[in-house]
């Protein structure tokens, strides 16, 4: 990580990585979604609505992974004072918020034909909504701190404290057995049949690459903006 502490070195890697991540992400996401819509059989219980799985699960994963990234960047900033950590945290937040929002919306759309309701104050749904609001708070706090010329320490502490919500989201289906189904995909296996499951890794990896593309593009934008601000300050001095 410290090898990337130099912004010039980081940019030498980030420029080609942005294009590659975009291409691989688009290819995998499109193939995965097309396969999920056309090649897999309908579920015996849910019917065709099971196809929402291929976009809902990646968005849920990325909503949570985004905050895990913010927490890791916060630790890196507070403990090691990594110069790109605050930039990384601010860059990841809009992508994480977007995918948390997509997760909530697609889940709500999936819930209507499956559960008969658009929304329920269930443990999983509520904790995911809290995550979405945490993202909005982080974005507002981090940008306000940046505008005032701060180092982003308050946003980093907020990012670390907000990580408490991640295990709550993960275990919510075990702690509060309400409407959302229990864990169907774990590290050791899945309760979903392989004939339905196989396009999911494609969309998971594809959307993760697109998430990485958006985060890298935001980091490049922030570094360029910082460069412009520094040069303007030197010119006016």
């Amino acid at each position: 990580m410290h090898a990337l502490a130099n912004p010039a070195r980081f940019l030498r890697i980030a420029r080609p990585a942005t294009a590659w991540l975009l291409l691989v992400g688009l290819a995998l996401a499109i193939v995965g979604m097309a396969a999920g819509l056309t090649l897999t059989p309908p579920d015996y219980l849910q019917g065709e609505t099971v196809r929402i799985l291929y976009i809902h699960v990646p968005s849920a994963w990325l909503g949570m992974a985004g905050w895990a990234g913010i927490a890791a960047a916060s630790v890196s900033q507070l403990v090691w004072r990594h110069p790109l950590a605050a930039v990384a945290g601010r860059a990841v937040a809009p992508a994480g918020a977007t995918f948390a929002g997509i997760c909530l919306l697609t889940g709500s759309i999936w819930g209507r034909p499956t559960w008969g309701t658009w929304w329920e104050w269930d443990g999983r749904l509520t904790s995911m909504l809290v995550l979405f609001f945490l993202y909005l708070g982080y974005i507002a706090l981090a940008s306000a701190e940046r505008e005032r010329g701060g180092e982003g320490r308050i946003a980093a502490i907020y990012g670390l404290v907000g990580a408490i919500n991640l295990p709550i989201i993960h275990y919510s289906v075990l702690w509060w057995r309400t409407l959302h189904q229990g864990e169907s995909i774990g590290l050791t296996g899945s309760t979903i049949d392989n004939s339905i499951l196989w396009p999911l890794p494609l969309t998971m990896i594809g959307f993760t690459c697109l998430f990485g593309t958006a985060a890298l593009m935001r980091m490049r934008a922030e570094l360029a903006e910082t460069k412009v601000e520094a040069r303007m300050r030197r010119m006016s001095a």
């Binding site: 975009l22 996401a29 979604m33 819509l37 019917g47 065709e48 609505t49 196809r51 929402i52 976009i55 809902h56 968005s59 809009p94 992508a95 977007t98 995918f99 929002g101 997509i102 919306l105 697609t106 759309i109 999936w110 209507r112 034909p113 959307f207 697109l210 593309t213 958006a214 593009m217 935001r218 490049r220 934008a221 922030e222 360029a224 903006e225 460069k227 412009v228 040069r231 303007m232």
Partner: protein
């Protein structure tokens, strides 16, 4: 209940959200890098 309008709506939300995020990130990056390059040339 016909399930397809729900499936189509969910995919539309995911595509619009992801596409919008990528376009916004790309435009902001291009604008910032163009401004930095222009300032370097001055």
């Amino acid at each position: 209940m016909n399930p397809w309008p729900f499936v189509v709506a969910a995919y539309a939300v995911a595509l619009a959200g992801t596409g919008g995020l990528l376009i916004w990130a790309f435009v902001s990056m291009r604008r910032a890098e163009a401004a930095a390059d222009a300032l370097k040339r001055r």
